[in-house]
Amino acid sequence: MSGGPAVRVSIESSCEKQVQEVSLDGVETYVPPLSMSQSLARLAQRIDFNQSDESNDEEASSSETPWKQEQEEEEGVVRFQPSLWPWDSVRTALRGALTEMCVLHDVLAVVKEKKYMALDPVSQDNSSTKVPQVLQLMSKKRALAQAGGVLLRGADRLSRSVCETADRGRQRDFNSELLRLRSQWKLRKIGDKILGDLSYRSSGSLFPHHGTFEVIKNTDIDLDKKIPDDYCPLSVHIPSDLQGSAYIKVSIQRTAPDIGDLGTVNLFRRQPKSRAGAQQWHVQLEAAQNVLLCKEILSQLSREAVQLKSQIPHIVVKNHIISQPFPGLQLSISLCHSTGDKKKQRCPAENKPDDHLYVLEHNLHQLIREFHKQSLTSLAVPQPASGPLGPKRVRVAGPMALDKSSIAALHSSEGLLDKIIKQAKHIFLRSRTARTIDSLASRIEDPQIQAHWSNINDVYESSVKVLITSHGYEQICKSIQLQLNIGVEQIRVVHRDGRVITLSHQEQELQDFLLSQMSQHQVHAVQQLAKVMGWHVLSFSNHVGLGAIENIGNASAVTVTSPNGEHAISGTHTHTHTHTHTHTHTQSAMLAQGCRVLVQRVRGACVGGSGVCVGGAEVVQDQRWAQLRGGHREVNWSRMEGRNFIYKMELLMAALTPCP
């Protein structure tokens, strides 16, 4: 560029401010200095735009010649204006830019003609950074979008499968539970509900309860919270009258003076025990089935109690049935049903002894099941197979020409209540017999009574073997052995000697009988002892017809003589009941057994020392009469040494046997 060195254009305002006025007190008021825009405007006014416009207009032309012309004019313009002009550099820079643009324009025009210049493409490298950024961005975006799409799809599949397993986990539980439920209980599907049957109808029950329960799926589980251990995805809905648990209470008591508040007292005492490892629904269903069975038992018993005519009518009050098997005794059968609501339970006084006969409750259950089985099999298939379905006896009665009694015999007519009353009677009789024997055994020491109960019993019959022995002489004196067969209402006694005696249910009869047998035992024992000791039995009688009438039984008597015939012992034994001696076990108790022992000594044997002189003046003086035995003298039995009667007798015999 021609011209002088570049002039730096700088705009600055002078620091000094012009004084506008000076006030009277000497304060100068400055003229506010010009702002930048104002000073710029002042300077711009100095520019002569008209002169420079000429050269700028010619820039628009696109030919060469005007360009040259332009150049000359520019130079001329430059000669005119000295380098003092402040916009010179600006003008120069603009002119330079114009020049370059013109050159570029010319080159492009030349290239367009393709006569003097040609353009060759420049080879591009792969690593050329000349790719525009927008394209890069687009391609990167697309690639990332594709990768992102793949990843999203994978993640979606994963999450879906996880959700499914979580769902299926719970779903599978419900189905497996349902399978387990179905393997034990009858289920059927009606619409979208699953119903089950817990009644005994399929095994022969005729109870008109529907016994259906509903299976419900538990969907109220919160997945976020921890699942409790006993959570079951399946629950059963049991009809309201079968909820809770129940049992049948059978007990025998003394006859109460009045029925009392039987209908209101809740007798339930037993807490249901839960088996470990059993599912909740299983426990619930079993309990409900038990309740149903207990209701059926009670309804059957009530029906029979009302319909059957017995001598003493049975009382049926709500859930209780009361009957009297024996006079003074009351058998009560009641259904104890607890609905599981603990608030309503009123536990009765715990101090009452548990007189619940569990055996009878079990038997009731067994009897009702037998009844079911019978109702099933009574309608058994006909033989031959073409026959009509129906009870067998109807088919058979015609051709066999059965009469009414035979038909009745075919059909067992005993009801549940009859059977259970018979069983209760038997149980009561058996326990009372045992009590009688035990009380006698504890009360009386001589002789001893032993009872051997048979382990194998029937519901209607038991047996016990009673032995009466004396202590120390079991091998010698074993003549009283009784076999008692306890039936429903009677006790049959079979004696060792073959006698069969039937006793009624009265307790006193058995007691008296046993006492009389004990008394007879003593005398039998003397007889056996005499054989062992060598004494001879002169007479023996089980039932002596002389003497005072005894309270219990008859007196028995025996007379034995010594081996050399010099002495004779006569003994009678009875059992007299003297009430004052029942409590003590002293010697006086033994004396309640009335026994009298008399000794007959040789005539004329008036021994001074020990014995007592027989009598005063003897009428008969002949020596040969001395060999006969003289009168009797009673022995003071209570002061005799010896633990029991036999022992004393043995000592007496020994004392009277002379030493050789």
Binding site: S202, P384, A385, S386, G387, P388, V396, G398
Partner: protein, 208 residues
């Protein structure tokens, strides 16, 4: 001596007129076990009973066209059980929509002198066969699955020859006349046996 005239009167069994509703089908021996299992599950819960019966069919030929037919059946497995005499009437031509074959039925239990009695009355035995199989029961419905065998020597039930390789399945109900719901129940039960055996009403007239 010509046969005595047979008066054709409606045969009734006392006061109640019992009708037999019948559906029949057959099953091959290979499928017999599965059928028995299925019946065991569907029917009442009693121990399955087998039977062996000997049936004699007696005819009384009169002057009129149709001979009078009576079936006498005794049990071979229970020799002391009484004989069973049966009369089956003509199938009722009711509406075609009834699903089971309905015919009048009279059942009589008889003592062991039945064959002699029938002979004395003028009946002559037409044929006899032995049937062995199982009986099931569901409510009032009776299902009899039986294998029929032919008796070679009359009176000798030991030597028998099987008639076919399949068993006869009969579903029958004895009900008083006029109960049409019975056939619905029978059809529902037959539906449950469907793929194993097809029980349908078979008109005996078409097969003679």
């Amino acid at each position: 001596m010509e046969a005595p005239p047979v008066t054709v009167m409606p045969v009734t069994g006392g006061a109640i007129n019992m009708m037999e509703y019948l559906l029949q089908g057959s099953v091959l021996d290979q499928a017999l076990d599965s059928l028995l299992h299925r019946l065991r599950g569907l029917c009442d819960n009693i121990e399955p009973e087998t039977f062996a019966d000997h049936e004699l069919v007696y005819l009384l030929k009169g002057q009129q066209g149709q001979p009078f037919l009576l079936r006498a059946r005794r049990s071979l497995s229970h020799p002391t059980a009484p004989w069973h005499l049966r009369y089956l009437g003509q199938p009722e031509v009711g509406d075609k929509s009834r699903h089971a074959l309905v015919r009048n039925c009279v059942d009589v239990a008889a003592s062991h002198s039945l064959p002699d009695f029938l002979n004395e009355m003028g009946f002559r035995m037409d044929h006899e066969f032995v049937a062995k199989g199982h009986v099931f029961r569901k409510g009032t419905m009776k299902v009899v699955v039986s294998k029929l065998s032919r008796v070679l020597v009359p009176g000798n039930t030991e030597n028998t020859e099987q008639l076919s390789l399949s068993s006869l399945v009969e579903l029958s109900v004895l009900a008083p006349a006029g109960q049409d719901t019975v056939s619905e129940d029978m059809r529902a039960f037959a539906e449950q046996l469907k793929p194993l055996v097809h029980l349908e009403k078979i008109d005996p007239k078409k097969h003679t």
